[in-house]
C-alpha cells in the first residue's frame, strides 16, 4: 500500500495560537483511517487544511504524490478529494434533489454556452444525474424528502445529505467530519456498512474524524490520535484503547496533579 495523503510537518497558527503544531501523518490508499483526539486537539483545523479550506502556516500536504498545499477546495475536488462538514453545509434554499444534482463536475449545462445552445445534451446529462441522485437518496433512505428544501431537514437528515453528496461522483478520498453526530443508531449502522462497502468494492479511501467510538472501532484501521496540535500515536484501535497516554489524554485518565488528588479526596470525604 502507498500513502494517498501525506501531511508533512504542517503547522497552523491563528494569531499566537498554534492550532496544529508540526503535524506529520499519512493516510494509506484504500484504508479507512480514523482521526481522534480531545476537543481542540487540532483535528478539524488539520482536516480543513487537507480539504483546502485553510492554508497551512508552514509544511506541505501531498495528495497522490503531488504537492497540493494551499490549493483551494474546488481544485482538490477535481483530483477527487471530497469532504463532508462537521456542521452540515447544505444548500438550504435548494431542494434535496438539487443539492445532490449540483455535485457532478463538467456538466455541460454549467456553462452559459451549453445551457443556451445544447439543450439536448444538457437534458440527457440531467436525466443521468437525476437517476444517480435518486439512487443515492434511495440508498440513504431519504427519498421521501426529495423535493423538500434542504434547509428544512432535521439535523440527522442534513448529515445524510452531506454523505450523499460525496456519493454523487467517483471519489478517491472522502474526508468524513463527524458524520455520526445527530444520526440515529439504525441509520448509523447502515451508514457504516455502506462506508465499508464503498471502501471494499469501489476502493474509496476514507479519512474520518469521529467522536463515536463504536463507529471508529468498527470502521477504522489505523486510528491516529491527535493531542495539542500534533500526532500522539497511531495504530490499531485495540492498541490505542490500551495505550496509557491515549487514555490519559483522550478518555481522561487518573488525575495526576497533587492538588487535584488532594481535592478529589476531600470531595470524597464530604458527607
Amino acid at each position: 500500500m502507498s500513502a494517498i495523503i501525506e501531511v508533512k510537518s504542517v503547522s497552523k497558527r491563528f494569531g499566537g495560537f498554534h492550532a496544529v503544531n508540526d503535524c506529520t501523518l499519512s493516510v494509506e490508499k484504500g484504508s479507512v483511517t480514523g482521526l481522534i483526539g480531545p476537543n481542540g486537539a487540532g483535528k478539524s483545523t488539520l482536516f480543513n487544511m487537507v480539504a483546502g479550506t485553510l492554508e497551512p502556516t508552514s509544511g506541505t500536504i501531498l495528495f497522490d504524490g503531488e504537492d497540493v498545499t494551499g490549493l483551494p477546495s474546488h481544485a482538490l475536488y477535481k483530483r477527487r478529494l471530497l469532504r463532508t462538514f462537521q456542521i452540515a453545509h447544505e444548500f438550504s434554499n435548494m431542494t434535496v434533489l438539487e443539492n445532490l444534482m449540483m455535485v457532478p463536475d463538467n456538466q455541460t449545462g454549467e456553462g452559459l454556452v451549453g445551457a443556451w445552445f445544447m439543450p439536448g445534451r444538457v437534458s440527457r446529462e440531467e436525466e443521468a444525474i437525476r437517476r444517480k441522485a435518486e439512487e443515492v437518496l434511495d440508498f440513504l433512505k431519504i427519498t421521501h424528502v426529495k423535493t423538500e428544501l434542504a434547509g428544512n431537514l432535521s439535523g440527522g437528515q442534513k448529515k445524510l445529505l452531506e454523505l450523499g453528496r460525496t456519493m454523487m461522483t467517483d471519489a478517491k478520498v472522502v474526508l468524513l467530519d463527524e458524520i455520526a453526530a445527530g444520526v440515529n443508531r439504525t441509520l448509523l449502522n447502515d451508514l457504516a456498512s455502506n462506508i465499508e462497502r464503498l471502501n471494499r468494492e469501489l476502493g474509496y479511501t476514507f479519512f474520518v474524524i469521529e467522536h463515536d467510538m463504536d463507529l471508529i472501532a468498527r470502521l477504522c484501521d489505523p486510528v491516529i490520535v491527535m493531542a495539542a496540535g500534533s500526532v500522539m500515536t497511531q495504530g490499531h484501535i485495540a492498541e490505542i484503547q490500551n495505550d496509557p497516554r491515549v487514555i490519559e489524554a483522550y478518555f481522561g485518565g487518573s488525575p495526576t496533579g497533587n492538588a487535584t488528588v488532594a481535592h478529589a479526596n476531600q470531595v470524597e470525604a464530604r458527607p
Partner: protein
C-alpha cells in the same frame, strides 16, 4: 434555596431544540461538572444559562432571582462570569486591559481584586503590558480565568477549559479550577475529560440527547459501572 436552580429547561437555536428538559441544581461553593457525548447539549446548557439562546420552556433561578432568558451583558450584575471555550481573550488588548474589561460592570475600586488575580497567576504580572494574543495557550487561559474573576463572581461557568491543551496542562487547569473554587466561587464546568473532571466535582451531571441521564456526586458517577461503560470510554 440552592444557588443555581434549573428546572425542566428546553432551549435551542432558532427552530432547532437542543435541550429537552434539563434539571440542575448547584449549592453555593460546589463544583458542578457537566459531561456527556458530543451533541448532548453540554455547552448549550451553559449558553442557555448565559442567555445566549432561545429558551422555550422551563426556568433558571440564581440566588433567588429569575434569570431565565436574561441578556448576557446583564449577568455580570448578578455576579455570574463565563469563560467561553475558544476566543476567550481580547487578543488585541493588553493583559491588563483584558482584566479591566472583566471589571467593566464594576464602578467601585477593584485594584485589590486585580492584585489578587496577579497573585494567583504570577506569569500575567510580567506580561501585563503585552497583547493577550501574543501569549501561549496556557497563559491565555490564565487571562481568561483572571478576566472572569474580576467581578468577584459567585458563579463561574467554564466551557471545556482544557480543550486543546496537552495532558500536562490539563491537571494544571484543574488545579486552577480548584483554587478558584477555594476562593468561595461556585463552578459549573463542561468537560470532555470526564474522568478527571468528575474526580474534582462535588456534583456531576451526565447529559445525553439534551436530557439528564445521570446526576450524582462526582465520585458516585465515576464508580457507576453503567456510566463508565456508556460515557467514559470503558
Amino acid at each position: 434555596m440552592s444557588l443555581l436552580e434549573i428546572r425542566n429547561l428546553h432551549a435551542g437555536y432558532g427552530q432547532m431544540t437542543i435541550l429537552k428538559g434539563i434539571d440542575m441544581t448547584l449549592e453555593a461553593g460546589e463544583i458542578g461538572v457537566i459531561v456527556g457525548p458530543n451533541g448532548a447539549g453540554k455547552s448549550t446548557t451553559l449558553k442557555a444559562i448565559f442567555g445566549m439562546l432561545n429558551i422555550t420552556e422551563g426556568s433558571i433561578h440564581f440566588d433567588g432571582h429569575d434569570i431565565t432568558g436574561i441578556s448576557p451583558e446583564k449577568l455580570a450584575a448578578h455576579k455570574i462570569a463565563m469563560v467561553p471555550q475558544e476566543h476567550n481573550v481580547f487578543a488585541t488588548l493588553t493583559v491588563h486591559e483584558n482584566l479591566e474589561m472583566g471589571a467593566y460592570t464594576r464602578r467601585d475600586d477593584y485594584s485589590r481584586v486585580m492584585d489578587e488575580v496577579y497573585e494567583i497567576f504570577p506569569p500575567l504580572k510580567d506580561k501585563r503590558r503585552q497583547a493577550a494574543g501574543e501569549l501561549s495557550g496556557g497563559q491565555r487561559q490564565m487571562v481568561a480565568f483572571g478576566r472572569a474573576l474580576m467581578i468577584e463572581p459567585k458563579l463561574i461557568l467554564l466551557d471545556e477549559p482544557t480543550a486543546g491543551l496537552s495532558p500536562m496542562y490539563m491537571s494544571e487547569i484543574f488545579d486552577r479550577v480548584i483554587a478558584i473554587n477555594k476562593l468561595g466561587v461556585t463552578v459549573a464546568m463542561v468537560e470532555q475529560n470526564a474522568k478527571q473532571a468528575l474526580a474534582i466535582a462535588h456534583k456531576g451531571f451526565v447529559l445525553a440527547n439534551g436530557q439528564n441521564s445521570y446526576t450524582d456526586t462526582g465520585r458516585a458517577l465515576l464508580d457507576n459501572p453503567e456510566v463508565a461503560k456508556s460515557f467514559l470510554g470503558g
